[in-house]
């Protein structure tokens, strides 16, 4: 009985750690501290955003071949570093974003995970506002991450972003999700 309570408590602590990590990550991205964010990216990362499809009989289908992002460490790094250029006009001035991370769940059952890896699902709502107009828009997505313990924090080993839009309603995607 006591052992059971202890393992529940343990799970709760892990969940709490993961949540804190995702909130802090969101803050880095909202502040456009991209290099600090990228410090949390594992060097074997696989960062994907497949294209959502709209099909007749199912609500959740994603393209096998078509995607918006399919990045490894090097290509993701290049995308991050591109924003250091004074010519990266898409983010001059930077998009104002606010990320809302909810419905965080940690599961350990997924195959291929090592001892120090966690499979984490979360919902993400991003508010975006640009320029000096009153216009704003949102991205809504579900994320599936593999987070790997690194010291007292985590690194992102794998991320799949499952956007809810089929047709994007923004000029471009110049932020990370």
């Amino acid at each position: 009985m006591l052992a059971e309570r202890e393992s529940q408590l343990e799970a709760l602590l892990v969940e709490r750690e993961v949540e804190q990590f995702l909130y802090e990550e969101a803050e880095l991205l909202d502040n456009r501290e991209l290099h600090e964010w990228f410090d949390h990216v594992a060097d074997d990362v696989n960062y994907r955003m497949p294209r959502r499809l709209m099909r007749e009989n199912t609500s959740s289908v994603f393209s096998e071949q078509g995607y918006y992002f399919n990045e490894d460490y090097g290509s993701l790094k290049a995308r991050v570093e591109r924003f250091d250029s004074e010519y990266a006009w898409a983010e001059r001035p930077p998009t104002r974003t606010r990320r809302y991370v909810t419905n965080v769940r940690v599961t350990r059952e997924t195959e291929d995970l090592t001892e120090d890896e966690l499979f984490v699902e979360s919902n993400l709502l991003v508010y975006l506002s640009r320029g000096d107009s009153d216009e704003h828009t949102f991205y809504s997505a579900r994320r599936e991450d593999v987070l790997r313990r690194r010291g007292d924090t985590f690194e992102i080993a794998d991320r799949e972003i499952r956007l809810d839009q089929t047709v994007l309603s923004t000029d471009n995607v110049s932020i990370f999700l």
Partner: protein
């Protein structure tokens, strides 16, 4: 303009546009005008050949995809006999839409309203209670309406809402010579990978048409970040008019392409040697076309009015990785004077190794499409042009945009007399003739004339054209 009707402000303004164009100007206000938008839909989109999709997107009988011409929704579908159709998505009973999904496979489309059913070639197959309720209705007259004209060129399907007019072959004219180089270079041709990217942006469709019709001038500046990071070489991204490369702006039968390449070298758009050796074929290409492909580093181009393409070599998604080519085609679909939907497809040689096809698709998304390192920076700029055009100032001050680059009084600009292809080629890329050509055709069609009446570029000065 219908005779006898009092011309609207837009029509009066349009009359002045002809004079502006002769001077190399184009009024800013035309990038945001409600009345013009309606005219454009009717006289340009409604009278042109508009791109629908590539046949490789619907390879099997029953495969379909929802596609659009202007505001009209169609079903792009391969029927049971293997024919490609474009059916108006509207039930013949009371007009409901019968196609539910963006893409899929079905033998029949069933109307959700009262259950009329259509085969995938459009034929009406079933009408509930017909013998009681519609006993004298002839089913053969109640199939889904087909688009008036549908034609295909190298797997690229175009449609026209106009019953009559030039055939697709005539519309593309000799420009096919250039497009053949892309589509016929690899044995087995090109195919589309995945599903097209789609995104809606608040910009007028003519801004992107301008860009694809030969804006070599913007590349080094607008895409300086790509250059900074060495994701694309100086000769791909660098300043117009300064390269050691062979830089040509080509106009052919109303369409344009810009190329960069190296004279006498084997460049082949930086396709890897294995692909060049195993797949590239001179079959179906003339010696001159082969030579163009061999020397080419990159191509940009546009087919009037709303189709664009890029075939780029020497790009990468990571400065540490080898460069690779990508090939993308796109469509800009006007939704309003200040809005369009962009459609963008990545292609690869059909018979290339799977791994290489994926590499090409990755090059495409790294560079273009909504997340592309190039494209991210273009779109917000086009939005800004549309914004500037939207208020009082552009029209009250009659602000004219400058498209004079390359006109004889602005710079020395030669026509390459030795040019190996049809049409004609400016011997450098520091000129804006492709955009003038686009706007002239735009003007002629809006004025109810033939787009081949466009003047002001050497296109009509060449004999025998």
């Amino acid at each position: 303009m219908a005779a006898g009707d009092k011309p609207s402000a837009t029509e009066r303004a349009l009359q002045d546009a002809r004079d502006s164009l002769d001077e190399g100007f184009f009024p800013l206000e035309f990038f945001h005008d409600e009345d013009l938008h309606d005219l454009e839909m009717e006289r340009i989109i409604g009278q042109s050949w508009v791109f629908i999709g590539h046949e490789s997107e619907i390879p099997e009988p029953g495969d379909y995809a929802r596609r659009y011409i202007g505001d009209d929704t169609f079903i792009f579908v391969r029927d049971e006999s293997g024919e490609v159709n474009l059916l108006f998505d509207s039930c013949r009973h009371r007009g409901a839409q019968v196609c539910r999904a963006e893409q899929g496979n079905t033998s029949h489309f069933r109307c959700p309203y009262h259950g009329w059913t259509y085969k995938n070639d459009g034929e009406a197959a079933g009408i509930p209670q017909k013998s009681k309720a519609f006993k004298n209705l002839d089913r053969s007259e109640y199939g889904l309406a087909h688009v008036p004209r549908l034609e295909s060129y190298e797997g690229l399907v175009f449609a026209s809402l106009a019953e009559e007019g030039p055939s697709l072959d005539e519309w593309l004219g000799d420009f096919k010579w250039y497009f053949d180089v892309h589509m016929k270079l690899p044995e087995g041709g090109m195919e589309v990978i995945g599903e097209p990217h789609r995104w809606v942006i608040d910009a007028n469709w003519k801004t992107i048409a301008d860009n694809f019709n030969g804006d070599s001038y913007h590349t080094a500046w607008a895409h300086g970040s790509v250059l900074d990071l060495e994701l694309g070489g100086e000769e791909t991204v660098g300043h117009a008019g300064t390269g050691d490369s062979l830089d040509r702006h080509i106009h052919c039968d109303g369409h344009t392409t810009s190329m960069r390449g190296f004279e006498g070298e084997d460049v082949f758009l930086t396709y890897p040697d294995e692909v060049v050796e195993d797949l590239f074929t001179r079959e179906g290409l003339s010696d001159a076309q082969w030579q163009l492909a061999r020397q080419a580093l990159s191509f940009t181009g546009a087919i009037f009015p709303n189709f664009g393409f890029l075939h780029f070599g020497d790009t990468t998604d990571d400065p540490e990785k080898d460069v690779a080519p990508f090939f993308t085609i796109r469509k800009w679909r006007p939704l309003g004077p200040d809005q369009m939907e962009l459609w963008s497809w990545g292609l690869a040689p059909k018979n290339a190794p799977e791994e290489f096809k994926q590499r090409m698709y990755k090059m495409y998304t790294a560079n273009f499409g909504p997340t592309g390192n190039f494209e991210q920076d273009d779109v917000p700029i086009w939005k800004g042009i549309t914004d500037s055009a939207s208020g009082q100032f552009a029209s009250s001050q009659n602000l004219q945009l400058n498209y004079q680059m390359g006109l004889e009084w602005m710079s020395e600009m030669d026509i390459d007399e030795e040019w190996l292809g049809p049409g004609f080629a400016y011997s450098e890329n520091l000129e804006e003739g492709g955009m003038r050509l686009f706007h002239e055709q735009w003007y002629e069609m809006l004025a109810g004339n033939d787009r081949t009446d466009a003047t002001g570029t050497p296109i009509n000065l060449q004999e025998d054209r």
